[in-house]
């Protein structure tokens, strides 16, 4: 839980004064709604009847046999409406926005999944929607841009900086400062100023609340490990939340090591980051000694973010969760492995987590279990994987 928006020494509200009153109003509204049965009913009705929850907990028998160790279960967030865990959080935040009387949603997006989810929910609730996306990412993820536009959203291609996720967050924050009275900024990950990391964690905790119930039904005991990929860390914090007090459950976040943690082309924030203040929060960031934020890289547009949610920074510091770097090569190999073994085309983000499961499972006993969250499906990444492998396909 948070105290004044702090997780250990991390978190807080490092934003321009223009936003402070609004952040307090969001916090007050949300804390009230969190306890409000009507809001919770409305949210869960949408989650169950629109987003297709609960998502499956799938026992991956073939992979379990091949790897010869722990029983592997996949929490199938890829089966949600819009194809990723992002919808859980967007439904929650959009309802908060509507309760606050806002008529417009804005959001940043990296790979496009959060943008698609926001555009989807804006359409559903009859709200205006504008999405900020790095120009580089709009080119990597053209299909998702088109999806957002089909859903009625306006997509702004951000040309500042390295034109990726970090720059999209900057642009969305600036747009929000300019129009804070009408607009709600639907933050896509467990990052940013308080109360966002708390809200996003709460809305994504549906993943682990369900997974805990499902694994107890399936095996009669808690899992031994929970594995999830981490960029900002929303699916990971959602996957960890209900297990935080279960000390026997090992929690592992997999971050993007890109071309290797010893190269400049990586985004392994816990492995290589240092404490800093950016995007409204105190957390770990990839930055130079003077405090200039690095331009980072991952094959996955959703993971190339130079920071990490403050709760993850605190969990890493306390040792409650571990964070491991996974390279592009390892993720691509895992992408193909799960496709061929289980017939699941998982997002390249999620494939980072699958890659670690491949390492971890053989070290464990067959009476032990791993839950790995498949945060999204890989349709959007098929062209990128083809490019990576030098295969020419006609999109």
């Amino acid at each position: 839980m948070t105290t004044n928006g702090k997780f250990g020494g991390y978190g807080g509200q490092f934003v321009p004064e223009t936003l402070m009153q609004e952040l307090h109003e969001i916090e007050t509204t949300y804390l009230k709604l969190r306890e409000d049965p009507k809001f919770q009913r409305e949210l869960h009705d949408l989650l169950d009847n629109y987003a297709n929850r609960p998502s499956l907990l799938y026992h991956a028998q073939h992979m379990t046999e091949k790897l010869g160790g722990a029983q592997i279960y996949f929490k199938r967030e890829d089966l949600n409406h819009t194809g990723a865990h992002k919808i859980n959080n967007v439904l929650g935040q959009a309802l908060v926005a509507r309760y606050m009387g806002k008529r417009k949603l804005i959001a940043e997006t990296g790979a496009g999944q959060h943008g698609v989810a926001t555009a989807t929910v804006a359409a559903l609730l009859g709200m205006d929607c504008e999405i900020y996306m790095g120009k580089e990412d709009t080119e990597r993820q053209r299909l998702n841009v088109f999806r957002m536009e089909l859903l009625g959203a306006q997509v702004h291609a951000v040309t500042s900086g390295s034109m990726v996720l970090k720059d999209a967050v900057n642009a969305a924050m600036q747009a929000w400062v300019a129009d804070v009275t009408d607009t709600f900024y639907v933050l896509g990950s467990a990052v940013g100023p308080h109360p966002f990391p708390m809200m996003v964690r709460d809305f994504q905790s549906v993943i682990s609340i369900e997974a805990k119930r499902q694994i107890l039904e399936a095996t009669g005991k808690l899992p031994d490990a929970v594995v999830a990929c981490v960029g900002g860390g929303s699916n990971a914090i959602g996957s960890f939340a209900a297990f935080l007090d279960d000390e026997t459950v090992q929690l592992i976040g997999c971050e993007a090591a890109g071309k290797g943690v010893h190269t400049k082309q990586q985004a392994a924030t816990i492995t290589n980051g240092t404490d800093g203040i950016f995007h409204g929060m105190k957390s770990k960031f990839l930055q130079n000694q003077a405090g200039q934020i690095d331009e980072v890289y991952s094959i996955s547009a959703g993971l190339d973010y130079p920071g990490i949610g403050p709760e993850h920074a605190a969990l890493a510091q306390s040792g409650r969760a571990q964070y491991v770097p996974i390279t592009d090569d390892q993720a691509v190999q895992a992408f193909e492995f799960i496709a061929r073994t289980e017939g699941i085309i998982a997002a390249i983000e999620s494939s980072h987590a699958v890659a670690y499961v491949e390492k971890l499972a053989p070290t464990m006993r067959p009476d032990q279990t791993i839950i790995c969250t498949l945060s999204g499906r890989g349709d959007k990444d098929v062209a990128a994987i083809a490019r990576y492998k030098g295969v020419k396909i006609d999109e």
Binding site: F14, M20, V177, H279
Partner: protein
């Protein structure tokens, strides 16, 4: 009375802003001296940041130009040292929290005091997050300049009561950059501030013409001009110092 507050004692103040290192460290020294020669009462020295989210495109581009030349916080302190060999013009820093945090709040303040930099403006360090830096500024007798926004509402009282030096009133929503119209009822904001403090009030964000400066000086104790100066430096090349001096003189006449 703090050094910054004294500036506002007998007249309306003109506050200018430059990004250190844009277009070069040498030029920054000359430009600061040129602003002082024109009569700038206080100069904000921007320490460039990779992601200046409170700034509009003009200042963001200047930050980028400086960072492309590898300008560091240490370089900026070196610029101030050179200015101090020639001028005692009042200076404050404007930068983002991370750059100050990386130096260390206490060490940053110590170095400011050493170079007679009177204080700092940190746009992403609101009231709630200031305790640690505030303690350091107090130890070294510096001003942590408070910002008040059009949305500050019930926050104005506590911000005003903490303020020293001057209060930076943000004229309008959004990022820095020149504007032609101001929607906010700035008189209402400054009147409310004055109920709680005698700390002077200066208005910034968007001001670029003498007419705007004159209008703002009717409701505030000073005006702050950033983007217009940064743009002038960008366009004027070698002629920048001369043009800066002339520009400040014109703006000073408008607010006196």
């Amino acid at each position: 009375m703090s050094k910054v507050k004294q500036i506002f004692a007998n007249h309306k103040a003109f506050v200018g802003f430059v990004v250190a290192g844009d277009p070069s460290l040498d030029a920054t020294v000359d430009n600061i001296l040129a602003l002082a020669a024109g009569g700038a009462d206080l100069i904000e020295i921007g320490i460039p940041f990779s992601d200046p989210v409170a700034d509009g495109p003009v200042i963001a581009a200047a930050d980028k130009r400086a960072l492309d030349r590898q300008v560091t916080t240490d370089d900026v302190f070196a610029v101030i040292r050179r200015v101090r060999e020639q001028s005692n013009v009042p200076l404050v820093f404007l930068t983002y929290a991370n750059l100050v945090y990386q130096v260390g709040y206490q060490e940053f303040c110590r170095r400011c005091a050493e170079l007679n930099v009177a204080g700092m403006i940190i746009p992403d360090l609101p009231y709630e997050e200031q305790d640690e830096l505030l303690a350091a500024t107090q130890e070294f007798d510096l001003d942590l300049i408070q910002l008040v926004a059009p949305t500050s509402k019930s926050r104005i009282k506590k911000i005003a009561q903490r303020a020293t030096g001057f209060i930076y009133v943000v004229s309008s929503m959004g990022t820095t950059g020149t504007r032609d119209n101001f929607q906010t009822d700035l008189r209402a904001v400054t009147d409310e501030i004055r109920q709680y403090t005698d700390t002077p009030v200066a208005i910034g964000f968007g001001i670029h013409t003498p007419e705007q400066a004159h209008a703002m000086s009717q409701v505030a104790d000073g005006v702050i001009v950033g983007s217009q100066i940064v743009e002038l430096i960008e366009k004027a090349g070698d002629q920048a110092p001369e043009q800066l001096t002339a520009y400040v003189r014109e703006m000073k006449r408008a607010i006196d």
